[in-house]
Structures are given as structure tokens and as C-alpha cells.
């Protein structure tokens, strides 16, 4: 680990000033991903600014019936919050499918969204990686790419975003509240993360000096018909090969609204509005679900070691939709 200085701050203004004063400065909250990466010199900040004392540590009801999750609330406190559990069980399940209890006691909501990929080559400073060292090349495309993307990848990067929480937030159409040098703004969840393109070093559309303050959940939490299905190499404490977050509104066996987000398959949680729209108004049948899965995976392209993910994702989508509906309501 490189040498760095450390300070803690009491206000967002102070944190933003620290960030703009020196671009080697990083914010630290839970620290579970940043310190991990610092130990192997993937991250080498010259200064760490501890933001744990900022006032973003509450979960509050919003006037529109939604819920505001403070950026500094831990993943565990969010997942077990009574309002989250009753109104947004999809989010609770997704958070609890990720990491370990110890990590969830440390990791914050803001930090969860900003965690970096678990691509082996991103972690290995002895190998080229365009995300870690722009322009050096992608070792995964022709390397061991079993855990890598099948959708939205580029010739420069085939990494996936590792968060489970983010997949549920994508399905719920959360909004991320950010403060920065030019004041406060709201970012639709869809627009927070980005595809790698020719700038894979950028995971998100946040600007330097930006600080996530909270995440707003809309009033509709799909608590009646939901499923977070995570497929991984072991039963617990592993990153997703494929995950599916489903939220549905149904009426008499007919799909009235569908939200489907995939994890483990792309540089960001993957949604296909067209496929969701096409399912709307249709009866909940296996055939319709299979058609939806095919639409979502249109254009999917795997690599030497992850071709299995295309079929795995197709089946996972059908199963998640079926389980969200409940077998008795299948037509």
C-alpha cells in the first residue's frame, strides 16, 4: 500500500473541497472495496477523506410515498430496515444476496454503487487492463473470461459491474442524489453507470468532486410480485454469474407492468425497455416469458469461457419471472 494522508470531514462542502484540491484524493466510507484495492496497488490515493461523519446516515420516508436511503447507511441496516423489507423486498433480497454479513455491516449504500469490477485482470497489476491503466489493452478478451460480460461490452473492456444492490435499484428505477462543485442534482439510476465504450476507466457518469448523498426509491416497490434470483458458483458469498431482479404488477394472470434487470452480464445493470413493454398486457405464460428473455438477450455475445452465460441468463430470466408471479398464477 502506498503512503497517504488521512483526514475526516464534517460537511459535504469540506469533502468536495478536498476532492477538487487534489485529484489524488479519494473519499472513504465503508472502505471494503477501496482498501482491498489499495492493498494490491490498484488504487493508490495520496489522501483519504473519511466521510462517515456526514449526515447521510438515515432512511426517511418521502412525501410521494417513496423512501430515501442515506448514502452512508450500511447495506445491512438498509436490507433489514422494516420499511425496506415490507415495501421493497426485492432490494432487501438483493442486498442480502451480496457479500458477507461482516462486509454488509461495513459497506455503505453509496459505496456499494461505486464498487469496482471484480475482473481478475483489473486486480492483477502485472497484466494490461484498460480500466486500470487506460490504453494498455484488455487481457480478458482473449484470456480467462468466465465471469465477464455478454452484453454491452466493447473491444476495450468486457468487465461486469459486481453489485447486487444496483440490479434491484435499476429494476425499481431509483434516483441517485448527488452533490458536487456545481450544486445538487438527481441522476436516474439508468444514467448512473455507463457502458465501457472506449473509456472503460469510467464506471459511472459522476463528475470529479461529486458525492452521492442518498438514493430515492419511488413509491412503487413491486412488493406483491418480485424476485431476486442470483446464480453463482457457491450457495453464498460469491459474485453473480447471472442475476435477475424482477418486479411485476399483474391482474388476473395478465402482466400489467414488468421491470427486469440483469446483473453479472454487463458493465452496468442491464435492462431492455422494449422487452418489458412487449410483455405488458400479455398473459403470464412460460412461452411469453421465454420470448421476453430472448428479446432481453438480443445481441448477447459471449467469449471463450463465458458462452454458457447466454443460455444461463435466458433460463434465469424465465425462472425469475415465473417465481415472481407464483406458480398458481401462471396461465
Amino acid at each position: 500500500m502506498n503512503k497517504f494522508t488521512y483526514a475526516d470531514v464534517n460537511s459535504a462542502e469540506a469533502a468536495i473541497n478536498e476532492l477538487t484540491f487534489d485529484n489524488g484524493t479519494k473519499l472513504i466510507a465503508g472502505g471494503t472495496n477501496l482498501l482491498d484495492l489499495m492493498k494490491i496497488n490498484v488504487e493508490t490515493p495520496s489522501r483519504l477523506v473519511d466521510i462517515n461523519r456526514l449526515p447521510y446516515n438515515k432512511i426517511e420516508q418521502l412525501h410521494d410515498g417513496g423512501l430515501r436511503l442515506g448514502a452512508l447507511v450500511t447495506n445491512a441496516d438498509t436490507a433489514y430496515n422494516p420499511m425496506v423489507r415490507s415495501n421493497y423486498p426485492l432490494l432487501s433480497d438483493a442486498i442480502l444476496a451480496g457479500a458477507s454479513p461482516q462486509l454488509r455491516n461495513m459497506a455503505t449504500n453509496g459505496g456499494n454503487l461505486l464498487q469496482r469490477t471484480r475482473c481478475y485482470y483489473f486486480y492483477d497489476t502485472a497484466t494490461p487492463c484498460n480500466k486500470r491503466d487506460p490504453g494498455s489493452g484488455c487481457s480478458a478478451i482473449n484470456g480467462i473470461n468466465r465471469i465477464h460480460a455478454i452484453l454491452g461490452h466493447s473491444d476495450h473492456c468486457i468487465a461486469t459491474h459486481p453489485s447486487d444492490m444496483a440490479v434491484a435499484l435499476a429494476a425499481l428505477e431509483a434516483v441517485v442524489n448527488v452533490t458536487g462543485t456545481s450544486g445538487d442534482r438527481r441522476i436516474e439510476f439508468e444514467d448512473l453507470h455507463r457502458l465501457p465504450g472506449d473509456e472503460p476507466e469510467k464506471d459511472t457518469n459522476l463528475l470529479s468532486g461529486d458525492l452521492i448523498t442518498s438514493i430515492d426509491l419511488p413509491a412503487e416497490g413491486f412488493a406483491g410480485n418480485y424476485k431476486y434470483l442470483k446464480v453463482r458458483d457457491r450457495a453464498s458469498y460469491a459474485f453473480a454469474l447471472v442475476s435477475v431482479a424482477v418486479g411485476l404488477k399483474i391482474d388476473g394472470g395478465i402482466i400489467r407492468q414488468a421491470r427486469i434487470a440483469l446483473g453479472g452480464v454487463a458493465h452496468k445493470p442491464w435492462r431492455n425497455n422494449e422487452a418489458e413493454g412487449q410483455l405488458t398486457g400479455k398473459p403470464a405464460t412460460k412461452q411469453n416469458f421465454q420470448q421476453t428473455a430472448m428479446m432481453i438477450l438480443e445481441g448477447a455475445r459471449g467469449f471463450e469461457h463465458n458462452l454458457f452465460k447466454v443460455e444461463l441468463a435466458r433460463r434465469a430470466i424465465v425462472r425469475a419471472l415465473t417465481e415472481a408471479i407464483g406458480k398458481e398464477q401462471m396461465q
Binding site: 500500500m1 503512503k3 497517504f4 494522508t5 488521512y6 472513504i28 472502505g31 471494503t32 482498501l35 482491498d36 492493498k39 483519504l48 473519511d50 462517515n52 445491512a76 433489514y80 457479500a99 458477507s100 454479513p101 461482516q102 462486509l103 455491516n105 461495513m106 450457495a235 453464498s236 458469498y237
Partner: protein, 182 residues
């Protein structure tokens, strides 16, 4: 009892730490209450809580396994919550109350979880055991594990390469049932 690096008290039962004296450039003052004892140190900001415990305070019961949050051997209780001490900086926990494996027994009387681990032979090599025990206590405090399946899921952050899981689960279930009967 005050354990301070400026005035090391080796009669505390803890070996003298190796932290540098206060005032040296780059070091930051850190104060914890560790196992009920006040502890004052001056540490480089890069020192993890795990290294502070083991290398600077001499509490080597907490184990370093992977040092990347993947194995759970370093699990301690910070303000009552179980965390991986390898993935937090000591300076970030300034002012916290920390409980390690050394702080669980009351004199010669083992903590019920320690006693159950012995009764159920819940270890082989023992390297993961301090983390398993701290994690199990943290889990029961959290109150979300009711069934064997839930215990297995909520203990998944603690790896045992000897494979003593069956007996670890039995020990935890026993403590949980005893606590429920009180």
C-alpha cells in the same frame, strides 16, 4: 487501565506494542476501548484495525487469513457489530469499542460461545476459530438467524478450510437455543 504507547504498561497482560511515540510526523492519535480497556496509540493512517490489534497492541488472538475480507478470520466486534478488521483502517475506528476473542471470557469463565465450540469440537486447526466465534456472537446479536439454514447463510463470511462447519453450526445452534430458553 490506560494502555498508551507513550507509557507502555506491560503489566496489563498485553505485550508492549511497537507503535511510534506521539508527535512523530504522519502518525495520528487513535483511541479505542478494547475489551473494556482504554487504549491510546499513534498510528500511520495505513494501519488496518487488524494490524493495530495484532502488531501494535499485541492482541494476536484475532487472525490474519486472506487480509482481503474473503475469509472472516479477522472478524471482531466494533460497537457490537461484527466486521472484517482487515478491511478498515484503525484511524477510522477512533473512539470505538472493540471486542476481540481475548475479551469474551469473564475471568476463567468462558463465553457460552467459546464453551460450545469446545463442547461440540467445532474446529480442527483452530485458525479460523476466533473469527468464527466473534462472528457467531455478532450474528446472534443481529437477531436474523432462526433456522440452521439461516445460520449457515449468515455465517458464510467465515471460511473453515478444515471443514468443521457441521460442528460449528451445532455449537451456534446450542448457544442460540440456550439463550432462547433463558
Amino acid at each position: 487501565m490506560n494502555i498508551s504507547t507513550a507509557n507502555k504498561q506491560t503489566n496489563s497482560g498485553w505485550p508492549a506494542g511497537s507503535a511510534s511515540a506521539p508527535g512523530v510526523s504522519g502518525l495520528l492519535p487513535v483511541n479505542f476501548i478494547i475489551n473494556g480497556q482504554q487504549c491510546s496509540l499513534h498510528l500511520d493512517p495505513s494501519v488496518s484495525l487488524l494490524d493495530a490489534l495484532r502488531e501494535y497492541i499485541g492482541l494476536t488472538g484475532t487472525k490474519k487469513g486472506c487480509d482481503h475480507g474473503q475469509c472472516g478470520a479477522c472478524t471482531v466486534l466494533v460497537d457490537g457489530k461484527r466486521i472484517n478488521s482487515c478491511l478498515t483502517l484503525a484511524v477510522m475506528k477512533n473512539g470505538s469499542e472493540i471486542t476481540t476473542i481475548e475479551g469474551l471470557a469473564q475471568g476463567d469463565e468462558l463465553h457460552p460461545m467459546q464453551a460450545a465450540f469446545i463442547e461440540y469440537d467445532a474446529y480442527q486447526c483452530g485458525y479460523c476459530t476466533p473469527g468464527q466465534i466473534c462472528s457467531a456472537i455478532g450474528m446472534l446479536n443481529e437477531g436474523h438467524a432462526e433456522t440452521l439454514e439461516e445460520i449457515q447463510e449468515l455465517m458464510s463470511g467465515n471460511i473453515c478450510r478444515c471443514g468443521a462447519y457441521t460442528n460449528i453450526n451445532a455449537a451456534i445452534l446450542q448457544v442460540k437455543q440456550e439463550a432462547g430458553n433463558e
